[in-house]
Amino acid sequence: MLGGEDKMDSKYYETWEEYLAQHPELEGKPTQAIAPKIERYEDLMFTFIMDLLL
């Protein structure tokens, strides 16, 4: 996670906690392995989108 997510206030960006709350099917799954992957691709998409405007 890169930081600043708590101030994003966007429906197009979810923190891991927000994502997990939307996906109860992940309960009991190895979240220690899932969380960094979900966060990584959320951040990669953010960087890609922002690079289109830089």
Binding site: L2, G4, M8, S10, K11, L52, L53, L54
Partner: protein, 384 residues
Amino acid sequence: MTDVVALTNERNQMFRDLFSGKTPKRVPISNPATQDFAIQYAGLDLAECQWDLTKLEPVYDKFCQDFITDTYPGGSIRIPSHYQLLGSTPIIMSSSGFMQHPEVVGLLAEEYDQFIASPYDCIIETILPRLYTELNGEPGKVAMALAKAMRVHSDDMAYLGTIRAKMNAKYGFATMGAALTEAPFDFMADFLRSFKGISGDVRRYPDKVSAACEAVLPLMVKKGTLPNPSMLGYTFIPLHMAPYLRDKDFAALYWPTFKKLIETLAEMGQTVQLFVENDWMRYLDYLYELPENTIMRFEYGDPKLVKEKLGKKHIVSGFYPITLLQTGTKQQCVDKAKELLDILAPGGRYWWQADKSIINLEASGPVVENLRAVLEYVHENGTY
């Protein structure tokens, strides 16, 4: 330890020293010539090489071999494939193969409130569909275009990263990561309101401009944050609009969120390199206020004044005029390098970079010979 590993370690230490305010072993050097220059130097077609990246490894190999530099002389975020797939209007390839940025308006003046309410939502829903034609249409078509563009961008970056790793391993360059972001005001200007648009906004809607800069600040911080902030590496921030503002507009609209951005990154342990474009001499007192050891690469201005005012707190770079490489003799080019070394190197806190990047290469011109002479001079005479 191999010689090349030792060379990498030596160069990494030079930059660690430089970025922490210590005097390094010698003045570190970065070749100002770009990937575009390297392709032309290799005698290859610019457009073709940017589409077919497999042609670039020998290009970089020759480029790295022939010009002295302590950092990898390449890298580009302007690879044409994903721009093409997205129907880009703000970044397009010219007929000569250079990637160019025409004046565009991604955000209308009447949309400020929408942007201020949620910048990222506004970017996704309003700005990108206006600037990228393939992101404006049926949801399924947009999803497919975005997926293809992100995949090709990822593949291109990975391929360029492989070349970079090979060159680093062969030539022992310093291994520094970098992130890119912008001052909030510049972000609002460049692709959103345009140079002309923002220039009118500062008079017509200064409160909206100020609120928009505040709203987008968290995105600029996030964009400028490396996954693992560290001293060896930096956030690169090119600065655009300040020289075109009145002092009072700079103080009210540009400076507050720009300063917060730099301070926030510095508090995270992230080194920041500013590309101080155009002439910022009337803002030197502001720049002094930024966190210690902020790197400032200047385009124009008075090097003596900058060294005097900023040189004990910050790291100074730039000023070397690349136009001289085209218009001057070899001796004039070397003399200019000596002049800047004499002014800026004493006491450390100096990184040799030019005033801007070299993009175009006139095959019959003197740039190659002059650039090589300057880099060699600084390398041989920059020892502390």
